[in-house]
Symmetry: C2
Subunit: 209 residues, 2 copies
Amino acid sequence: MQIAIIGSGNIGGGLARAWRRAGHGVTFGARDPNEAELATLCTEIGAKAKSIADSVTGAEVVVLAMPFGALDSVLAATGDLAGIIVIDATNAVTRGTSGMTLEYGHTTSSGEQVQARIPRARVVRSFNAQGAENLANPTYGDVVASNFYCGDDAEAKHAVALLITDVGFEPIDAGPLASARLLEPLMLLWITCSRTVGTRDLGFKLLRR
Amino acid sequence: MQIAIIGSGNIGGGLARAWRRAGHGVTFGARDPNEAELATLCTEIGAKAKSIADSVTGAEVVVLAMPFGALDSVLAATGDLAGIIVIDATNAVTRGTSGMTLEYGHTTSSGEQVQARIPRARVVRSFNAQGAENLANPTYGDVVASNFYCGDDAEAKHAVALLITDVGFEPIDAGPLASARLLEPLMLLWITCSRTVGTRDLGFKLLRR
């Protein structure tokens, strides 16, 4: 598939590496597409870097992998992404004196907020609920880590499930987009456990018999 | 340990079975301690059944495994449980037209609400975030399911971690009691996945390298 990734940090960069390995085309959307580190990454993995507005032209899938605070400016550049599969991998967290808290409560989620702003896009929430380390290697011994996804468009969800598999995860359907209210706390649980356990080399698995 | 379990449904009954196997003493606290099904269970596993008020006398650990809606009447019977380790396994959920939602938002949790009502007790949140099926068998192939716990009293948490191990789970420290805000959505994620995957034979695992 042709995939535009907005943001080239740990999550965006990790997804790009994995999807290039799987044969997908990747174009980064960046505020500065000529930035040196991004250019090096693009050369290494065979990706392109363009302006945010240009990156989504021809893309079948757009991944939001920039800080959530940049959402307004990013969507101003991309337009409404009508009909496009949009994977929201952002996390709307607020850093306070007692650690991080979620910006949205149990009655909405950042995933739903994104969908409300681009109602004609097909938003799927995924890749938010673990550290970027898992993108490089989602297998723990014999066990493949799970990656949850949710959304309201069945076809978009199916496409995203294949992209999750391409990264090396087991995709787990977590239902409608409103389930983002459950996946966003899961991200904070991952962060909390990375502190109590003392490593970021952690993944979630949904065990089944 | 001497453990009082308030509620003898799937969770309370499952915990009792596991802890009796591990050699702990179990007394159920029940509105009707002479109820036939409960009496049968007590005979089978070697537990006692008493009134809620009497069940907590001499208990080192009290487990709240009744519906959250009964909290007020249960605490009226138990008193303030000063110094006692209280494992809160309830879930404050509201059933609405669009499914279940959490009664508390991201700024509090049912665990914290319980602690606020019995400030001298040592509340630990655990056993809430999966189906009771796991209490009978928390092992999936070679993989032992995780069970998260959180609380503000280090000694109480240590004791609960051992009780989690006695059930057969791997205990995962999820930090302070405020992390109940993360474990309560995890319970809804478990329920959601049990529907999308089509089985309640599901467990969570925190994978580590």
